[in-house]
Every structure is written in structure tokens, then in C-alpha cells.
């Protein structure tokens, strides 16, 4: 009875909690829906084939996208033979893919995958015109607009090749004759079993399982065949979505908590009265929980419904930005929505926990007390928790600063932000008032009334000042910390590249995923190839194929033993120090490995290197012969660089150093800005909420001001100026907290990298955040106070005393 009556009567004071829960749970349910939809999908080009046999898949750690070891050519041949023999199988088709990117009008087109012609039947993509490609011919996607008989230039790993078009198909990709494709392809990792019409798929799968040497995939299980790039994109998306959902839930707890804390403070008299007429503390606590649940359940239900509706929009957005692979779509399912709803309820209960305890502690005598003095010291538990959270956050920030950007960067950045947020929010009642006293000191010196009023109001209304300054402090602090961290990290890596590259120019891909051999060797340029080596036990080693001259010039290899000249010999390799120590390798040992094409070799270890970008260094020619698909990421030119041909361009070294990780940096930056925008939005809600809630308590003060001769304009100016002061205070504190942490990080970078790392903070973004908070706070304060000021007739003071219990706080 009391719960719903209270809600009906006091809905404005619950509005902030409602809005935040609504937004937060919409965000959570959207993210959770997207997460639930983000499982591996069967690639479209393989969808028409019911059964696949794939290489055994190794267990990999989170964020590890190393490929699985391909079959050797002999194994492929024998598997094919045995799978072909299964009754009901029309053909066993090895899935061969390679790099093939048509160049039309001088520009490489968007698709860069080539397939063996037989793989077209896995989708299946039937011919729409012409015939299947013979040796030296190509069939391709009809949407490219080429007709059979025309000629097309295609970039392959070796360089541009001109093919006559034999036919077009109704699907993406470039198709070469099987024999030619086999020469360009990496090792086979999957064989599709195209079944005869009416064949029993289950029986085929069972028979395939009996053929040793692979894993049989059917139905949704074929999702495991997605490309490593898609898998990586999905993983990044997962990180971002998890961060958004966690941030939303976290902020919701904080704002719901503060909404109810202010509400309880304003209603002390009411709770005292209830206690006086016989409510036990338990009953009071239950009442506060009841109110919170009523608000929480409604807001969560609305938020989850909105999230469900907006889910597909978020899905499209994620694909556009690059956080999900193309073809990703959000699917509705009841479980994530039910889960989000449960999260909302738990968040509400967690948020209101402290407020309900405080309400229950109100003593019956407080119903009688005239003045409400709000000067109780902060409880010790809060001190401890606040300091602990700050420490945790700063430790995590340092950890994030040490990460190289590829590991779970978003998560550790988030932990840092959350720790500092929680710590400062907890400590704010102790920290904010003395600082407010300090910075508003000049206001007390002026002659006008406004300055004095602004200062005294901000100082006496501790709760309001802290409640307004805290979200600004949190947002600005986190924004500076995280964005500064991201940009400083990027700048540090750029700086290191710029100082270590010894070349006159760099050839980089232009509209292509990498450089063909032709482009990479244009004008005498030199390049390295990055690939993987597979150990007999299934482990994957990273490998760089390069010439001694190139490694010399790149300048980042330090020899422990042996010499770079070993790479001139095809059966010798250099190994990284950790690998040598781990496997007990020394010069003269052998390292049995197999390559990307599935073939095996046993090269001799010729030396050990200290700092290398890969586990194993070997000759470029050797690597190229065994990895026909690797593309160079860049090529270094000594002297003047000529035109590198299609799909590549020349850059000077400083520009290259600054842009090298542009794509990765772009995704991290988008994720960061997203987090900043979302937290600013939440801070805005919290500020508006505080202003709206404290307005009721200020009615009497403002009426007294009016009675003392202040004009409406003067009163509103005072209110606005006070909110501006408090927001600036919060923003300033945020900067003061974040900048030293950033500077410390910068110094750590500089030491570790032996380079002069600049401190980069995106000031326009930070100033934008502060400006948004300023505008919101001033508008909300004025709008909330205006009705009270307007109707503050002389009777106002006495009247409100009767109508409303709570006083200004």
C-alpha cells in the first residue's frame, strides 16, 4: 500500500533512477542479444554442403587466432580417395583458397578471395554464363560486370596476372582451374562432402567419422569453418559489447544507488514518523526495497523491450564500424532477454542496498527534529572501500598501459575506469566539500550577492554539491585517462617505429590486404613475410621470412649467438631466445616443423636472437616456397622509389610510422569514444536527476531569497552559476586525478621503449564532455528551480512547510 502510494506521490524523485535503468537495461539487452547472436556462422559459400571433414582443431587461448595445422598434400590425396568412396558422396572437394583480387579500372575491387573451381559447388554457386575455367582462365562473380571472353587483371601473390574470363558465377570470389588453384593455395584444412540427391546425410557423416584423420562437421557445427579474420572481428566485437553491457550495468547500480540515497535523505522525517508510529527498521527497509523494485521492474521491462527492438539496428552498426563480420545480424531469442531482465532486477536491488540500510537506521525522533543537519562523517567502511577501489583502478590502468594493444586491452582499460569511478564516487563526500571551499574562495571576496550566495549554497548543500560534481569528475577523469592512454600508446609505437626504420621510403598496400611479390620488390624494395610454423605436437610458432640485409636495416634484431648470414642458406633458421631456452635448442640442433602448405622439413638452428618479432627467422625464399599465400605487410626502399604497380603505394617513413597500425588503432579508438560518449550520457542523466530531485528541497530557500528582494532573474542566475561552479569543480578534479596517472604511464613507455613518447590527450573530446555537462547542469538547475521561483509568493515559505516534510539538504 505504502509503496505504491509513495511512488504515485513522489514519482519525480524516482524519475532519474527510472531513466537510467531504462537506458542501461536497453543497452544491456541490446548487447546481450548481439552477443548471443554472435556465434560462429556457417560461411555462405559452404552452406550448400551438409558434411565437412576438417583438420583437428587445437584448443586456443582467448584472443589467439593462430591457424590450425593443415594436412600434408599426401594426406589430402588419401583422405579424398577414401571420402569419395563413401556411399552417397557425389564428390569430396578440398576447400582451397588463395589471394586473388581483380583490378578493374586500375583499382583493386573489394573482394580478395580466390577459390578452386570445384569449391564453387560447395555453396553451390552455379555458372550464370560461359563455361568452367580451364588452365589459364578465370571464372568470377557476375556482379563485377565482366562477360565471358573479356580479359581481367587479377592480383595474385606473385603479382598481377591477366586472365581471359571463361564464365561468371552467382556468388563472390575468383575461381581458377583446380590444378592452377592448387599451386597458389595454402594447405587444405577442410574437405566438403557433396552428397548425391536424396543421400542420408547422417549416414554419410557417420561413415566420414570412420575415416580417421579429421573432424566431421555438420549443421551449425560447420560454423567452425569461418575465416580467422571473421573470428577475430567477432572477438573484438565481443570485447566491445561486453564492455558496453558491463559499463551500463555498473553505472545503473551507481545512479540507482544515488537516486535512492538522495530520496532517503530527503525523506528522513517521513521514515522517522513511520518508526515513531511503530514501523520496525526491517519494515522500513522492506518498504524502500519495494519502491525500488516497483521502479526497477517497470524500467527494466521497458528497457529490455526497447533493447529488443533496437537490437537489429545495433547489429547493422557493428558491421558498418567493423566490430562484427559482414553478414552478422541480431537474432531475437528469449533467454538473453530474460537474462537482461534478471540483471536489471539485481542491479536495482544492489543499487538500493545502501539506501535501504540508511533508511532503516533513521530514528523515530527524527520525525520531530526541526533542522536536518547533514554533517555526519563518512563511515570508515566507505573510506576503506573508496581508497581500495582507487588503488585497484590505478593498478589496472598501469597494467593496461603495459599491454601492447593486442591483448584484452578493452577489458583492462575498463577495469581501470571502474576502479577509479567507484573509488572517487565513494570518497566524494569527503573530497568535494574542502575543494569547493578552496576554489570558490575568490567568490567570497566580491561585493555582489550572487558570488556569496553561490559559494555558500555550494558549501552548505554538501550532498547536492557532491552528487553533481561526482558524475562529472567520474566522466572527465575516465575520459582523460582512457583516451589519453589509447592515444599515448599509439603515439609511443609510432615513435618507436620512426626511430628504428632505416629506409628512405616504404611501400604499403593500397586497397589490398597486403603486397604481392611484384609490388614488394618494385624498385629494389625488400620485404619480409609473416607466417606460421607447425610443430609436430600441434603448437604454432610465428615465423618471419626475410633476407639478412632487410633485418639489418630494420634494426630491431639483436643476436645472442650466430649471425644473420645463416638466412642465406635454405636449411638454416634463427630462433628466438625464449624458444631456444624452452626447447633446449642451441646452434646445431634441429627443429622439425611443417609449413602452411602442409609439407614438413627439419632445418638446423644456426643461431639465437634476443629481440625479434617472431619465434623463428628463416630465409624469405624458403618461406615463400612453403607458404604460397602470405602477403608482405610493407616493403622498405633504399634510395628513390618508383611506382609499385596496382594495389600498392609509396610513403615516406615518418608518415608510415604514424599510420602503420591505423586499422587496429581505429577500432580501439571507436570503442574508446563509444565508452566516453556512453559514460557522458549517464553522467548527464545523473546531473539532471540530482538537479530535479534537489529542486523540491530548495523551494523554501528560493522563496526566502525572493522575499529578501531578489528578482526572478537573480535567483535563476545564482542557481545556474552554482551548478557551473560545481561542474567545473568536478571536471577539474577529474583532470587532477587522471593526468598524473597518464604522465606516469608515459614515463613507463619512454623507459621501456627508449624513445621520447609524447603525451597525447584528445582535448577537443574532453572539452566537449565538460561543455556538455556544463550545459546540462545549468539548464537542468534553472528549469527545475523556475516553477518554484515563479510561484514563490510571500506565503510560499509557510505553505510548503505544511505540505512537504523534507527541507533543503
Amino acid at each position: 500500500m505504502l509503496t505504491f502510494a509513495t511512488l504515485r506521490e513522489r514519482w519525480p524523485s524516482f524519475a532519474g533512477g527510472f531513466v537510467v535503468l531504462f537506458l542501461g537495461m536497453a543497452m544491456v539487452s541490446m548487447s546481450v542479444l548481439a552477443l548471443a547472436s554472435a556465434g560462429a556462422r556457417v560461411p555462405e559459400r559452404l552452406a550448400g554442403t551438409p558434411v565437412f571433414v576438417s583438420v583437428p582443431m587445437a584448443e586456443r587461448g582467448d584472443g589467439d587466432f593462430a591457424p590450425d595445422r593443415p594436412w600434408s598434400p599426401e594426406t589430402v590425396a588419401s583422405l579424398r580417395e577414401r571420402l569419395d568412396a563413401i556411399p552417397g558422396v557425389a564428390q569430396a572437394v578440398p576447400d582451397r583458397t588463395f589471394y586473388a583480387q581483380p583490378v578493374i579500372g586500375g583499382r583493386p575491387v573489394a573482394g580478395d578471395r580466390g577459390y578452386a573451381w570445384s569449391a564453387a559447388m560447395l555453396a553451390p554457386y552455379p555458372l550464370t554464363a560461359g563455361a568452367a575455367p580451364r588452365e589459364g582462365e578465370v571464372a568470377l562473380d557476375r556482379s563485377l560486370g565482366l562477360a565471358p571472353g573479356e580479359r581481367v587483371s587479377v592480383l595474385t601473390v606473385h603479382g598481377p596476372v591477366t586472365y581471359p574470363v571463361s564464365g561468371t558465377v552467382d556468388g563472390p570470389g575468383v575461381y581458377l582451374n583446380d590444378a592452377e588453384a592448387a599451386r597458389l593455395s595454402a594447405g587444405v584444412r577442410a574437405i566438403g562432402l557433396v552428397t548425391e540427391p536424396g543421400a542420408d546425410v547422417a549416414a554419410v557423416a557417420a561413415a566420414a567419422r570412420a575415416v580417421a584423420g579429421g573432424v566431421v562437421l555438420t549443421g551449425e557445427g560447420r560454423g567452425a569453418l569461418e575465416t580467422r579474420e571473421d573470428e577475430r572481428t567477432r572477438w573484438i566485437g565481443l570485447q566491445v559489447l561486453t564492455a558496453m553491457a558491463a559499463l551500463s550495468a555498473f553505472v545503473s547500480v551507481l545512479v540507482v544507488g544515488s537516486t535512492f540515497a538522495v530520496g532517503v535523505a530527503q525523506r528522513r522525517r517521513e521514515f522517522g514518523l513511520l518508526r515513531a508510529v511503530g514501523a520496525t527498521p526491517r519494515q522500513v527497509r522492506r518498504m524502500v526495497y519495494g519502491e525500488a523494485l516497483a521502479v526497477g521492474v517497470t524500467a527494466t521491462a521497458g528497457g529490455v523491450a526497447a533493447g529488443a527492438l533496437l537490437g537489429p539496428v545495433l547489429g547493422d552498426l557493428l558491421v558498418t564500424v567493423g566490430f562484427q563480420p559482414p553478414g552478422f545480424a541480431v537474432r531475437w531469442s528469449p533467454l538473453p532477454l530474460a537474462g537482461s531482465f534478471a540483471v536489471g532486477v539485481v542491479v536495482t536491488l544492489a543499487g538500493v542496498w545502501s539506501a535501504s540500510r540508511r533508511a532503516a537506521r533513521v530514528r523515530p525522533l527524527e520525525a520531530l527534529r526541526e533542522a536536518e543537519v547533514d554533517d555526519r562523517p563518512m563511515p570508515r567502511g566507505r573510506w576503506i572501500a573508496g581508497v581500495a577501489c582507487c588503488a585497484l583502478g590505478l593498478a589496472a590502468a598501469a597494467g593496461a598501459g603495459r599491454s601492447d594493444g593486442s591483448d584484452a586491452f578493452v577489458v583492462s582499460g575498463l577495469v581501470a575506469a571502474m576502479g577509479v569511478i567507484a573509488g572517487l564516487a565513494l570518497l566524494s563526500p569527503a573530497v568535494v566539500p574542502p575543494v569547493a571551499r578552496l576554489v570558490s574562495w575568490p567568490l567570497a571576496r566580491g561585493r555582489g550577492a550572487t558570488g556569496m550566495l553561490v559559494r555558500e549554497n555550494a558549501l552548505t548543500a554538501v550532498r547536492r554539491t557532491a552528487a553533481t560534481a561526482t558524475p562529472v569528475l567520474i566522466t572527465v577523469g575516465c575520459a582523460v585517462l582512457i583516451t589519453g592512454m589509447v592515444q599515448t600508446t599509439a603515439a609511443a609505437f609510432a615513435e618507436v617505429r620512426a626511430t628504428t626504420i632505416r629506409a628512405d621510403a616504404v611501400i604499403v598496400p593500397d586497397g589490398t590486404p597486403g603486397l604481392t611479390d611484384a609490388a614488394a620488390s618494385a624498385a629494389g624494395a625488400e620485404s619480409s613475410l609473416f607466417s606460421g610454423l607447425f610443430e609436430p605436437d600441434g603448437g604454432v610458432l610465428s615465423a618471419i621470412g626475410a633476407t639478412p640485409e632487410l633485418l639489418e636495416r630494420a634494426g630491431d634484431v639483436q643476436m645472442v649467438s650466430g649471425s644473420l648470414d645463416a638466412l642465406r642458406s635454405e636449411d638454416r633458421v634463427l630462433v628466438a631466445q625464449w624458444l631456444a631456452e624452452d626447447r633446449g635448442l642451441r646452434p646445431g640442433s634441429t627443429l622439425p616443423v611443417s609449413f602452411e602448405d602442409g609439407t614438413s622439413a627439419t632445418p638446423t638452428v644456426a643461431g639465437v636472437v634476443r629481440e625479434a618479432d617472431a619465434d623463428v627467422l628463416l630465409s624469405r625464399e624458403l618461406l615463400r616456397r612453403h607458404d604460397p599465400v602470405a602477403l608482405a605487410e610493407e616493403a622498405y626502399v633504399a634510395g628513390a622509389a618508383g611506382p609499385p604497380g596496382p594495389g600498392a603505394r609509396v610513403m615516406d617513413v615518418p608518415t608510415y610510422a604514424a599510420e602503420a597500425d591505423a586499422e587496429e588503432d581505429r577500432l580501439v579508438w571507436i570503442a574508446t569514444v563509444l565508452l566516453v560518449v556512453v559514460s557522458t550520457a549517464y553522467a548527464g542523466v545523473a546531473i539532471v536527476n540530482t538537479m530535479a530531485m534537489s529542486a523540491a528541497g530548495r523551494v523554501r530557500d528560493l522563496a526566502v531569497l525572493r522575499l529578501s528582494g531578489a528578482t526572478v532573474r537573480q535567483v535563476l542566475a545564482t542557481v545556474a552559476a552554482e551548478s557551473v561552479l560545481v561542474v567545473l569543480l568536478g571536471g577539474g578534479l577529474g583532470l587532477v586525478v587522471a593526468l598524473p596517472a597518464l604522465l606516469g604511464m608515459r614515463r613507463a613507455f619512454a623507459t621501456a621503449m627508449r624513445a621520447d613518447v609524447p603525451l597525447v590527450v584528445p582535448w577537443p573530446l574532453i572539452l566537449g564532455v565538460i561543455a556538455a555537462c556544463l550545459a546540462l547542469a545549468a539548464c537542468a538547475a534553472v528549469l527545475a528551480a523556475r516553477p518554484a521561483v515563479r510561484r514563490a509568493a510571500p506565503a510560499g515559505a509557510a505553505e510548503t512547510r505544511w505540505r512537504r516534510g523534507p527541507r533543503s539538504g
Binding site: M1, R269, A276, V277, G278, T280, A367
Partner: protein
């Protein structure tokens, strides 16, 4: 005066503040309040009359001495036990802020019963409101009631549990003279007709004149007592003496 004692205070002391700066709000008060009487507690500002009321009602715990209501020693009760005792045996009427603003008059009156987990029959609640003359205002919220009406709702709520004693703290402090008289007449009637025990704190001699007995407090002690015929003039005269006394 041979009726049973409903409320008994023995050597009650109440100190406030720190060791360095102690305020003796009550300094050894012993007093008995008998069933079916209306007692007024008077005294200058700071004499400790409100503290006396709070201690007697179990809203505040004395620093020393004992308080018993209906034979139960309040000092032996836990916070929860005190709450239950207040709920069952004690009613309150305060000067202001008496009602929960979100609830209607009827709901406010039913509140103590509901808090106790008891049934609050609509008939009973409406009868209680009718008794204070508000039968037609049952559905109004406090914001729609005048000050006098709010106090009458508070009285109805105080009586709904049939308490052993009702405490009133300046029950007419916020009301004009005419409405004050109505309210005080109503309280007097409850004592006379139903034998309700009532203890009332006031600083107004006219209000005190409705009582059977007046206790005068100064500096935390009972300094005078008036029984028999209590008139506003006699009370005012005694008060004048107290207020003129050197501190």
C-alpha cells in the same frame, strides 16, 4: 489519585553532548502518570520538557533512571522491542509533519495496524475518522487537508491501536485559536469519555488549562505541580515566576 500508574519515571537523567561539554536535559526526574488523566508538561524553552516526553514515550533512551509504561521497563527492551511496544501501547500526536504525505487520511489512520500486520477493517478506520469529525475526508491526502484536519487525522491514528497512553508534543502549536480549542476539546473529551491517558507538552497556558494536572519543569527538574482546578491564569502566573527566575 488511587488509579493505577500508566507511565512511571524514576530518577530519569538525560545528558547530551561530549564529556567536555555536557548538557543536562533531564536531571533526576521522578513522576507518575495515572490512567485516565490528561497531564500537561510546561516549562520555559530548554527546560527539558520535550526530552521528558521523548524519554517517557520510548523515543529516546535516558542516560540514567528507569521508565516504565504499563509496568514494562523500557530499559530492558531492544530497539525492536521498543518499536513493538510503541506500536501496541503508545500513540503520538506531534506539532507538525504528522502524516505520511503519500497516503490518504484513511490510509494514514490504518498505518499502525498495517505495520503490526493486523487487519485494518475499513469500518473501524472510518469510525475512528468519524470520531474526530472527518468521516467525509477519508480519501484526501495531507496536502488537501487544513492544519486542523491534519491534526485530527493524527489523533485518529494515535487512537486506532487503543494505546495505553497518547503523547502529544505541542499538538496545537501550528494552529489558530479557534481550531486549537476544537482540538483540545476533542482531546479532553477522549480522556473524560474513554478514560484515555494522555501526556501533553506545551508552553501555552491556555492549552495547559485543559489538563487535570500540570507539571512545571526548569533546568531538567520538576519544580512545581498544579492539580485540582487548573485555569490559564494560574498557569500563566506560575510560568511567569519560573521564567523570571535567575538561571
Amino acid at each position: 489519585m488511587d488509579r493505577e500508574e500508566t507511565v512511571r519515571l524514576r530518577a530519569v537523567r538525560r545528558l547530551y553532548g561530549t564529556a567536555a561539554h555536557t548538557v543536562r536535559a533531564l536531571d533526576g526526574v521522578t513522576a507518575s502518570f495515572h490512567a485516565g488523566t490528561l497531564t500537561a508538561i510546561m516549562g520555559p524553552s530548554g527546560s527539558g520538557k520535550s526530552t521528558l516526553l521523548h524519554c517517557a514515550a520510548g523515543l529516546d533512551r535516558p542516560t540514567g533512571g528507569t521508565v516504565a509504561i504499563d509496568g514494562t521497563d523500557l530499559g530492558s527492551l531492544s530497539e525492536n522491542g521498543l518499536t513493538l511496544l510503541r506500536r501496541e501501547r503508545v500513540g503520538f500526536v506531534f506539532q507538525a509533519f504528522n502524516l505520511v504525505s503519500a497516503l490518504t487520511a484513511e490510509q494514514n489512520v490504518a498505518l499502525p495496524l498495517r505495520l503490526a500486520g493486523r487487519a485494518a477493517p475499513s469500518g473501524l478506520v472510518r469510525a475512528a475518522l468519524a470520531e474526530v469529525g472527518l468521516a467525509d475526508r477519508a480519501g484526501h491526502r495531507p496536502s488537501g487537508l487544513s492544519g486542523g484536519e491534519q491534526q485530527r487525522v493524527a489523533i485518529a491514528r494515535a487512537l486506532i491501536t487503543r494505546p495505553a497512553v497518547v503523547f502529544a508534543d505541542e499538538p496545537t502549536g501550528q494552529l489558530d485559536t479557534r481550531v486549537s480549542r476544537q482540538i483540545l476539546g476533542m482531546l479532553r473529551g477522549l480522556v473524560d469519555d474513554r478514560g484515555q491517558t494522555m501526556i501533553m507538552v506545551t508552553h501555552d497556558p491556555v492549552t495547559a488549562s485543559y489538563a487535570d494536572r500540570v507539571l512545571f519543569l526548569a533546568d531538567g527538574r520538576v519544580v512545581d505541580e498544579l492539580t485540582g482546578t487548573v485555569t490559564a491564569e494560574i498557569v500563566a502566573a506560575r510560568m511567569a515566576v519560573l521564567e523570571a527566575a535567575p538561571c
